[in-house]
């Protein structure tokens, strides 16, 4: 099975990694694979019948002999081999699903479907609670939340960043800033009913991006505290490299502090995939002092 993946890799080098490829590109990729691999004997009674594309799914078709039988963990093996070979990341980032069809004659012996997200190395689980209580940058805010498993937990490198969870180009940061005075939760709710105030706040918060675009905003509640949530995207330049970034922000008005939970990274498929994880982390937030 490994040999199949190694062969496939040869074909994928021609694909741009910088952005999500189109369905037409996937069709071209299928044609290219077909030209390269059709009829190839992969051993163990398996030969490549061909490859085709259906929307965003690549379908590999194989002919197997009468002695072939599927292994018990065939799907997991295919994914693991794909990760080992290094192309799983490309499937994931370009939102390409992959089907493997095994035929004996005209009869489909086995079909295995792997969604693009299943090729991801990302972990979508959250771990045990950590607290920022007593942290020198927390400014007295007592907050607990569950970090994502497998992400690196770093100290913030800027004055107001308390902690950061980092995985590749993705991060989830806890930022605490001083507010001008105390606000009760009722006062914040009233404040957030003022659309002008909300728009000004979002504009100010997105000003570090070039050409910022607010994709959505809403008022929610996090552990009984009224919260402004919005998603923004825009460009940023670092050391001459221009990047397209996307962030989701939760702005929690806590007593006389503003807690920013800011997550995101490069504007690609990863953000959409990770948004659920970001939501999980944020939903785990607890302000314990209110229960004392």
């Amino acid at each position: 099975m490994k040999i199949i993946l190694i062969i496939l890799l040869v074909c994928f080098y021609s694909i741009s990694f910088s952005q999500t490829i189109s369905e037409t590109d996937i069709k071209q990729l299928a044609t290219q694979i077909n030209d390269e691999l059709q009829g190839m004997d992969l051993g163990n009674g398996i030969a490549v019948r061909g490859c085709l594309a259906f929307r965003r799914t690549l379908v590999y078709q194989y002919d197997v002999d009468e002695y072939w039988y599927p292994t018990e963990n065939m799907k997991e093996d295919l994914i693991a081999n794909s990760k080992e070979a290094g192309n799983a990341d490309m499937f994931f980032k370009n939102d390409i699903n992959v089907d493997f069809h095994y035929y004996f004659g005209n009869k489909l012996q086995k079909r295995i479907s792997v969604k693009s997200i299943e090729f991801s190395n990302l972990n979508f689980d959250i771990g045990d609670y950590i607290s920022i209580k007593g942290h020198p940058k927390a400014k007295g805010v007592n907050l607990k939340l569950k970090p994502p498993i497998g992400w690196e937990i770093r100290e913030g490198d800027r004055p107001n960043i308390v902690k950061k969870f980092v995985y590749g180009n993705n991060s989830y940061g806890i930022i605490v800033r001083d507010n001008i005075t105390f606000f009760s939760r009722n006062e914040v709710r009233e404040l957030l009913e003022d659309e002008d105030y909300v728009n000004d706040f979002i504009t100010d918060a997105s000003s570090f991006l070039r050409n910022p675009e607010i994709l959505n905003h809403n008022i929610v509640t996090i552990d009984k505290y009224p919260t402004l949530v919005f998603t923004m995207k825009g460009q940023m330049e670092r050391s001459g490299i221009k990047m397209s970034l996307i962030f989701k922000n939760w702005i929690i008005f806590y007593e006389d502090k503003i807690v920013f939970l800011q997550c995101g990274g490069l504007n690609n498929k990863e953000f959409n995939t990770l948004e659920g994880l970001y939501n999980l982390i944020t939903n785990s937030v607890i302000f314990p002092e209110q229960y004392n």
């Binding site: 105390f182 009760s184 009722n186 006062e187 006389d256 002092e289 004392n292």
Partner: protein, 266 residues
């Protein structure tokens, strides 16, 4: 020759009058009258020849004053003894004595209270000690918050905020904090009961500090101990605030600051 009469009003001799003229005068039955032939001033009702006048004057219903008029033979000297005037003077003296006594008592009470207060203050100062709590944290926030409401009190030159053993004071109920810098804009002087502090949660500590700082910096008095004031920052019985939340504290402090800002009489 027609007989002429004189009468006296107690100060001078008035006359002479004929009987007819005497009738026109405003006499009473007790009016002293004299005419030639009489040795002394004689009460009108005792002179028979003037009965016609006496009978035309109604008797007094109640007689409380008695005056004695004794004319001398050579010089008309009138000695008038006024008993009511003596009584009034006595009354005046009594009133003055009572007033002085009350005044002296009040001064004594004030002096005693002041002495007690001084002793209390000295006891508190003697028992005070620096806390390992950063009270300046609350002072900075207090100034920040009142300024948001447009209140800009003079920044104190001296700030003394210490723990003091307020539990050990005699003749006092449990005191959580005391402010001694009221009406002195150059000075913040607050003493906090350490046992209260240790047993208080975060909202209660904010309530206590902002309560004392409102006395000290904004010169605001306690509210009366009425149910209607319960929950407000300047309610004197904040021991009952143990169940209050930070939201309660925030809204009660904002209510006070809005009130002070509207008066701007700090």
């Amino acid at each position: 020759m027609m007989k002429k009469y004189f009468y006296t009003n107690g100060k001078e001799k008035i006359g002479p009058f004929s009987v007819e003229e005497l009738k026109e005068q405003n006499l009473s039955r007790e009016t002293k009258v004299w005419s030639y032939g009489l040795d002394n001033w004689t009460t009108l009702s005792e002179i028979e020849e003037l009965n016609s006048i006496t009978s035309s004057i109604p008797p007094k219903l109640k007689v409380s004053n008695q005056n004695t008029i004794e004319p001398t033979s050579t010089k008309q000297k009138i000695n008038i003894e006024r008993k009511p005037i003596k009584t009034r003077n006595k009354l005046k003296r009594v009133i003055i004595i009572i007033a002085i006594s009350i005044l002296v008592s009040l001064i004594g009470i004030v002096a005693y209270n002041r002495q007690q207060e001084n002793e209390l203050y000295q006891n508190i100062v003697d028992s005070a000690y620096d806390a390992n709590t950063d009270f300046d944290f609350y002072v900075k926030k207090f100034y920040r918050d009142v300024e948001v409401f447009g209140i800009f009190p003079k920044k104190s030159k001296t700030t003394i905020i210490k723990f003091a053993k307020l539990d050990q004071l005699t003749n006092a109920t449990h005191i959580h904090g005391l402010s001694y810098g009221m009406n002195d804009d150059d000075r913040i002087e607050i003493y906090i009961n350490p046992s209260t502090w240790e047993s208080s949660n975060k909202p209660m500590r904010y309530y206590l500090m902002y309560h004392e700082l409102s006395h000290d910096v904004l010169n605001v008095d306690d509210l009366s101990n009425l149910t209607v004031n319960e929950g407000k920052l300047m309610f004197p019985e904040i021991a009952s605030y143990e169940a209050k939340t930070m939201d309660d504290f925030i809204e009660s402090s904002h209510e006070l600051f809005e009130e002070v800002a509207s008066k701007q009489n700090y």
